[in-house]
Symmetry: C3
Subunit: 336 residues, 3 copies
């Protein structure tokens, strides 16, 4: 594709000569037929060594290679990748080796791969792609243009929105963790609710999202979840929130909109996290957070405070020496 | 169902008028045909606003709605849910699209869904339900009335007890993590043992329980395990223990009976945790614990001590100021 | 098998009478027909009580049972297990209930179990074993003698080396976690790279290894990964490294050779960890580490320093009392 055509499609301005571009790559690995991009200033010094045939940038660089200028180079690059490397297409229809209950409704434009099992009265919408080994429970609903990668499980009655991407091994709707001790053993609290997932949600591989005890566990629109994330029963996650790998949210907590839970973080049960909050990596949130709060540590505290605390913490051996020294000096003074 | 009938079945006492109840819900979301419950005093103030048609309570409330009194409202509610929302029933038999080795023994009352694979000489007992995509290895045994949700894997020779529930994606019996360096590479220690799981055990989705090197990894009766839990090889978990989401137990540790390991906690290798111990969320247990101990933090310490430590920790910047102040005052005094 | 034959095969020296041995077990559980071993000096006192018929040891013990002497008893034992308990053999060929795309290349010596799905132009090499429910994406390559346990997913174009073992539920090649905010929603950065896994790698159950955005996520030869490990996109892990259960490595980090990341540890994004580094259990590495560094804690610091810090940390309530005491004494002095 001509560079000028790419520039046009991503609403950028071409500086330099037009040429044919066939691939995309990183600054380091790009070859002459590739386009690359510069977004993170950390990589600015590397640009001069790139072998790329073109580069997408935020401001013109003093370099001999053609450049596409745009105020949002990373976003423009994402679109360039989509243009140059189109998504795999899938032939619509149900594989003869899939098992679809006669009462299920599968749109003819959907693709159902081998060894998929679709239960009674389940629904799979227009243009969905259900990869091999997925299991869609009775009365579950997968709305249009959603992709389930191999071996995803959606338990009965759960509902997935439009344009979602669910990666392999994710489990949607397993029982919430609820038991009551009857004096001799743990009695299971039946988990009869569901999971409802909004539109444009992406869920990473091997995530687990439990169904509510009675009502619904809800994941808002445009939520993005990394791998191995655990969501307890009755949790509500607001639109646009980001949950990074290996984080967990305990039962009945409410996460606001546009919240970020960084990697390996946790939120306790029955906690409210306000809109726009950020929990840093490893943070463990154990009390409600007002909107916009940034926290770190366990138990989580204000991030700036945590930085100050850590600054003293890492020098505790020094601190105790200073205290010992004070004691000695004071002892000496007192003896005088 | 009549409220009086529910009261009779859960051994409670009906206060107020009898009426027809058809569903169960939370205090907030219940409608007139629903029964709800009050167990956690935190929700007492919300009860006056409920639209529920009846409520299960520990002591009579001054409210106009019919109440079922019972000393154990949460337990009674669990039973009410079972009564009003019966479990899905499964048609016994082996799906024609399952693959069952001719030497395997599957009880005629068990249900084997499509795309299940059952190996040589494996055993599946009375009333078991094996959902689509499960794989039961050679000579593995699944005892009566156990449910394997979709895509569970039980490796060869492992044994699951009666009345267990194993959620999707759980892996029972993968190789323990054992290697020995031979000077040029890691040599695998063959993992030839098994996993033995007791009766009435529930295992959450995507948990991993490794087989022993030579003997058995053992999970006691009535153990309840949340999602994404990791159990190393040769571990023994005592009856009635609770292991919450994303926790891990390293190889050869012995967890006593009725132990609670809260979310994201960990137990190191070759450690003994006594009966009734509690490891709080995020606790990392690195040494043996006597029975009944409650610990927090990493490395885990007595929970009350940890609370005192955290209380100082969070104010470390204050502490260092006080030390600086002392130094200044002492310097001033010394100069005098 | 005769003990003398075992001794010969593991290059050890037999002390004591020759006898027939048929099994292997632990010091505690071995019976008269079993051979056991002593490697960890912790178990030396237990040896006198063993019922084993023979023992592999580093130096001769004053015990009446036959002993095989070898400088590396643990390694010798691993080999003995392989000799006495041979691996399961698999009948080569493709199950009639597997789904293999006509353009895929599967070596006739490979075993493809039921309900395996192999995509367009995928490659499965000599002697590979692909257990039920595995999904191998289009153009993915599984090199010779590699074993995929049930329900492993390898996304399109990813490449697994020779002699690898991938445990159940592991997901190789799901999309890296990359989004850019366009002012109203998160736009997905297409993840068009791959995962390349070297030879002799073992990957635990339910691990997740994301494909690179543009290039490749690379796992070196002889890397051993425990269960539930998360590897972000573009990560590079060097040969012989060990990654223990529930650890995670964020995107674009480079882990050197022979690195150990202990259980529940984490490495942040865009970080370089030098050859031979060790991150202790729960360590959270947030900055580059030079080769050979041993770190603990979060944020990770030098392990020895961390021990000193923890030593003060756990006694913080004492420290604050000492500071209060100093203040009181100084107040008293000042009042004089």
């Amino acid at each position: 594709m001509l560079l000028s055509e790419i520039a046009r499609r991503i609403h950028g301005t071409l500086h330099g000569e037009d040429r044919e571009i066939s691939g995309v790559s990183t600054i380091e690995e790009a070859a002459a037929a590739d386009i690359t991009f510069l977004s993170n200033p950390k990589y600015r010094d590397m640009v001069q060594f790139t072998a790329a045939g073109a580069i997408i940038v935020g401001e013109a660089l003093d370099l001999p290679i053609p450049q596409i200028l745009t105020p949002t180079p990373y976003l423009a690059f994402a679109r360039t990748v989509e243009i140059l490397i189109p998504e795999k297409t899938h032939e619509p229809g149900i594989s003869p080796t899939a098992s679809v209950h006669p009462s299920a409704s599968v749109d003819p434009s959907a693709t159902i791969y081998p060894f998929v099992c679709i239960g009674e009265k389940a629904f799979v919408g227009q243009g969905c792609v259900v990869y091999p080994g997925c299991v869609i429970g009775d009365e579950a609903e997968i709305d249009e243009s959603t992709v389930l990668y191999p071996n995803v499980v959606v338990y009965e009655r759960c509902r997935i929105g439009k344009n979602c991407i669910i990666h392999s091994g994710a489990v949607i709707g397993s029982d919430g963790f609820g038991f009551v001790w009857d004096g001799t053993r743990h009695v299971k609290i039946p988990q009869k609710g569901i999971v409802i997932i909004g539109d444009h949600v992406e869920i990473g591989s091997n995530c687990t999202i439990d169904r509510a005890a009675l009502t619904s566990t809800r994941i808002g629109a445009d939520v993005k979840m990394d791998n191995l994330v655990q969501i307890g029963h009755n949790v509500v996650v607001g639109d646009h929130s980001i949950i990074v790998a290996q984080s967990g949210i305990a039962g009945s907590s409410r996460i606001g909109k546009s919240v970020t839970l960084a990697a390996q973080s946790g939120v306790g049960g029955h906690i409210t996290v306000g809109d726009g909050c950020v929990a840093a990596a490893r943070a463990g949130v154990v009390s409600d957070l007002p909107a916009g709060k940034i926290v770190s540590g366990y138990p989580a505290m204000d991030h700036k405070k945590w930085l100050r605390v850590q600054n003293v913490y890492k020098d505790l051996p020094e601190l105790i020496k200073r205290v010992r020294d004070l004691e000695r000096r004071l002892d000496a003074l007192s003896e005088d």
